[in-house]
Amino acid sequence: MDDRLRETLSAMMDDEADELSVRRLLSHHDQARVRAQWQRWQQVRDLMHSGHTPAEGVDVSTHVRAALDGRSGSARQRTSAKGISPAARWRWPAVAMVAVALVVGFGAGAGWDSREDSAATGAPEMAAQSFPDKDAAAAPVREVALQGLDKEQWEQMSQYLLEHAQHNSVGAGRGAVGYARVVSAGNGY
């Protein structure tokens, strides 16, 4: 770090550095040295003004960096327990709900329009029986393959996904009822 940059850092200590100089300083390749110099001058200032020596003072900067980098740190552990944002709290339930909606909606649609196929394979008809009997429950769930859809099913599937996306973009997070359940009752998917 040359004297010019150090002079800029000194001016920053006094709130007298312009933005361009600050930018130049912060883009210096050796930030550890910048930080070390800044810290030493702050220590001298602390000593001059409040009588703190570095030993009785505080240096949490390393721990703060570690915590922000996701490494260990006692404060990090405490904040991670309490400091989860509401958005983060709802993220996984929302993903799960959409996934379930897709599976249920897609399965229901595929089931209604492929009764003949399902009768042939012995798969349970979900639309016909809301509470499947023991045999049906014991039977393996048929794997739904997109390749097996005919043209009409493809159109229904596309329409479903489009409406689902629209529903999500308009009312995301507001309703508690999954989209698939709403359209199952209303549109006859």
Binding site: S10, D14, E19, R40, S61, R65
Partner: protein, 229 residues
Amino acid sequence: MTQANLAMAEKLASTSGKTGKPSMTPEQNQTQGEHSDSQTDLQLVRKVRNGDRAAFDLLVVKYQTRVASIISRYVYDSQEVMDLTQETFVKAYRAIDRFRGDSAFYTWLYRIAVNTAKNFLESRGRRPQASADVSDAENFDDGIRLRDQASPERLLQRDQLQEELSRAITELPEELRSAFLLREYDGLSYEDIAKILECPIGTVRSRIFRARDAVDRHLGPLLNHTETT
């Protein structure tokens, strides 16, 4: 500094409530709060918002002692003070987008520190003993509590450092010392110092830097020593 300049310095200093004569006792030198440093802080905050972690590092280093002192008004265990200081900065970093700049960055940080300390006490079923108002932020004597917690050995180290600091300042060339003290103890801007010393602002800037550098070199070995003890 000429007699006229000294007289002007004292006049300027008296308007800011200072004697213009530096003293080495910390209790008489609570001018740090007068260094609002708002411009630099805002520049750094802008950098942090753009993802510059190094800028946040500088803010942490700058304010960590003051934040720890605020928290030590509520929490007396030194390890808990360190943990809560750390937590305060982590919270500040995560909420930096919510800092609107209506108040000084330090005032905003002060609020986070107070709330962090209070929440901690409540989580432990303890009622906060101290109370702090935002208006205290600028006037808060950040030295008292931490100094009270210092061990006799550290008190001795502090005395040695204070002595060396006095010596380092005394040994500075006159023009460097004047600029440095007018800045550090009287909190004057470079522009005001330039008027007093009758020199360009660039010269003031350079003198203060050289003074700071000389003091740092003088105290360097001692600072390194006390850091590791």
